[in-house]
Symmetry: C2
Subunit: 336 residues, 2 copies
C-alpha cells in the first residue's frame, strides 16, 4: 500500500478520466468524486472500482459524453434520464437539481433513470448536507441478494443514504441493505478475513461468517433477514416507478454490464421553516447523548454514522491517501 | 380467542373512545384506525394496545381533545404541532396534509412534533397508497435499543413505513429498526415461543432467540447490527430536527409516559409527471419476478411486504376479527 498526496491522486484520476473520453468540462468533477472517496477512507468504492468504470466505458455500457436530461416534472419533483452517462456525474447532477428544487420549495426530489453505478453513495449525502440541506438518496443494483424465502438472487442490495446537516460535520449514513456490500465482501475475501457477524448462507443453507462461501453461494443476507429484503424490494419499486426506469430484475447479472440503474434523490432545505440554532441544538443533544452511553468495549465508544470520515480525511490529507500500488501504477500508465 | 364481526369491533372501539373523551367529530376515525389494525391482522397494535391508550388519557399524557396545528411551513413542507393529541389521529392528519401538499407540488412533507404513539404505522402508508400516492413515514420512540457499541438503551426502534400505490393492492413495508418490535417481542413472551432468529442479547452479552431474556436485558438487536443502529439514529435526527420536537433521548423511559414523539410524513403524487400505465407495468413486473423465484420452503413462497394483508382482511371480514376475550369484555364494559 502506498500513500499518495491527495492532489496527485485527483490529477491522476483526471488524466485517466479524460483519456477515457469524459469531456474536459465534466472530467474534473468525476475525478474529484473518485479521489474524495479514497480520501474519506471508503476504499471499496474509489480507485478499487475504477477498473470496472474504465471497462464499462470500453464495452459501451457507460457513455462518457452523456449528460442527464429532464424527462418530466411537476412542482418540486422531476424525472431525469441519465442516458447511461458516468454514474457519479449523473448522481451529482441529480442531487444538485434536488437541492435547487428544495431551495425553491422547501423539499425537492429527482428520480433518475438510465444511469450507472454511482460509486460511493455517501458522496451525494455529503453534497446536500455540506450545503445545509437534509438529503436522502438510494439506488437499485443488479440482483445480488436472494429475497427472503428464496435462494436465488432476485433483489438488489440497494444502498440508501441519509444525511443530516450540522455545523461541525454532517451525519451521513451510507449503507447497503445487505449486511455487507459486495465490495465489502470481496475486500474480506482478499484479506482472507472472516466477517464479524454472519453475512449470508453457505451452499448448505447455514448462516456463515465466511465471505468466500457467501460469494460462492450468492446468498448474501439482507439486514434484519425478511426486513431488509422487504426494504430492498420497496426501494427498487420507488426508484424504478418514480424514474420510469429499470428495476433490479431487468438489469444484466454481469457486473460489467450493470447499466441502466434507477435512483432517487431527495433534499430538504430547512432555511425557511426552521430556526438554525434550534436545529443545531437538537442535533448536538442527540449526539452528546450517544457519546455519553457507556461503551461495551472501552476502546470503541458508540459513534454516529460518518463520524470517522473527517478524522480519516485529515489523516489522509496529512499523510497521503492509501492506494493499492498495482492500481496506482495502472492509473498513471492509463492502462487501468 | 373470540372472533367478532368487524362492525361490532369498530362500534365497541367508538363507544370506548367517546367514553375516554375524544370528541364525537374525531372519535369515529380513531375507532376505525384501531379496528382496521386488528382487521388487517396487526394484532400487536390494535386492541392489544388500547389499555395503554386509555391509561395515557387518564394519566394526562394523551390529550383526547387536542388537534394538530400548523407551526411553520415553506412550499411543499410544513411543521405541525400535535399538542399531545391521540397519536393515530395526529398521524392521519399529518399524512392527509402531506398528501394535499403532494397533490399541489408533486411531493409534500409534514414534520410533526409533540405527538403520541401512532399505533400501527402501516395505516398511514395505506392511507397514501390507496389514494394513489407513494408514502414514506417514520416515528421516533423512547429509548428501547442500545446503540451499537453500548449495552444501554439509547436509541428508539423508530418504525419506518414505505408504501407504493398499486391497482390491485398497495405494497406496504412497515418495520421497526430492531429485528423485533417491542410488541412483537412481548407477543412471543406471552406465547412462550422462541424467536425465529436472534432478536437481541441476553444478560451475558450473547445473541439469543429467547424473547424473555431480551426483555430482561433490554438489549434488543437493531436490524443489521450497526446498520440498523445508524438508521435509527438518523431517523430520529430527521424527525426531531425537522419537526422541532423531542428526540428519543428526551422521552421518558416509562411506556405509560412515552409522550411528545416526533414523526415525519412524505407523500409523492405521480399523477402529473408519470404515466399510470407505466407505473403499473413496472410494479407488476417486479412482483411477478419476485413470485417466480423458487421458494426454499414450497409452502412459503417469497412475498412482498403487506401481501398477506388483503387475505387476512377478507378472512377476518368473513369469519370475524380475532380478539382477546378478556380485552374484548373490558372494551365493552368501558373498563379497559
Amino acid at each position: 500500500m502506498l500513500r499518495i498526496p491527495y492532489p496527485d491522486l485527483e490529477s491522476a484520476f483526471l488524466k485517466a478520466i479524460l483519456h477515457l473520453g469524459v469531456p474536459p468540462d465534466r472530467a474534473p468533477l468525476c475525478a474529484r468524486l473518485y479521489a474524495e472517496t479514497d480520501l474519506d477512507g471508503v476504499r471499496t468504492h474509489g480507485l478499487a472500482r475504477f477498473p470496472r468504470f474504465s471497462a464499462m466505458i470500453r464495452n459501451g455500457n457507460i457513455v462518457p459524453t452523456a449528460t442527464p436530461t429532464l424527462t418530466s416534472g411537476f412542482g418540486a419533483i422531476e424525472r431525469w434520464n441519465g442516458h447511461l452517462g458516468p454514474g457519479n456525474l449523473n448522481a451529482h447532477a441529480a442531487m444538485a437539481r434536488a437541492i435547487e428544487l428544495a431551495r425553491a420549495n422547501g423539499i425537492g426530489a429527482v428520480a433518475l433513470a438510465n444511469t450507472n453505478h454511482w460509486m460511493r453513495g455517501g458522496s451525494y449525502g455529503w453534497q446536500a448536507a455540506t450545503q445545509g440541506l437534509f438529503g436522502i438518496c438510494w439506488t437499485n443494483t443488479l440482483a445480488n441478494t436472494p429475497a427472503w424465502g428464496t435462494a436465488k438472487p432476485t433483489i438488489g442490495n440497494n444502498p440508501i443514504i441519509l444525511a443530516i446537516p450540522r455545523s461541525e460535520a454532517p451525519v451521513v449514513l451510507d449503507m447497503a441493505t445487505t449486511q455487507f456490500s459486495m465490495g465489502s465482501l470481496s475486500s474480506y475475501v482478499q484479506r482472507k478475513a472472516q466477517l464479524p457477524v454472519p453475512g449470508g448462507y453457505d451452499a448448505q443453507g447455514n448462516l456463515t461468517t465466511d465471505p468466500a462461501a457467501i460469494e460462492a453461494s450468492q446468498r448474501t443476507l439482507p439486514i434484519g433477514f425478511w426486513k431488509g429484503s422487504g426494504l430492498s424490494l420497496t426501494l427498487d419499486m420507488f426508484a424504478a416507478m418514480l424514474s420510469g426506469g429499470n428495476s433490479t430484475h431487468q438489469l444484466p447479472l454481469d457486473p460489467l454490464k450493470e447499466s441502466g440503474l434507477s435512483q432517487f434523490f431527495l433534499a430538504i432545505d430547512p432555511t425557511n421553516f426552521a430556526d438554525p440554532a434550534q436545529l443545531s441544538q437538537i442535533a448536538e443533544s442527540i449526539l452528546t447523548d450517544l457519546h455519553a452511553a457507556p461503551p461495551i468495549d472501552g476502546t470503541r465508544p458508540p459513534r454516529y454514522p460518518g463520524e470517522e470520515t473527517l478524522r480519516l480525511r485529515e489523516e489522509n490529507l496529512a499523510q497521503g491517501v492509501p492506494v493499492d500500488e498495482t492500481l496506482w501504477q495502472k492509473l498513471n500508465n492509463l492502462t487501468i
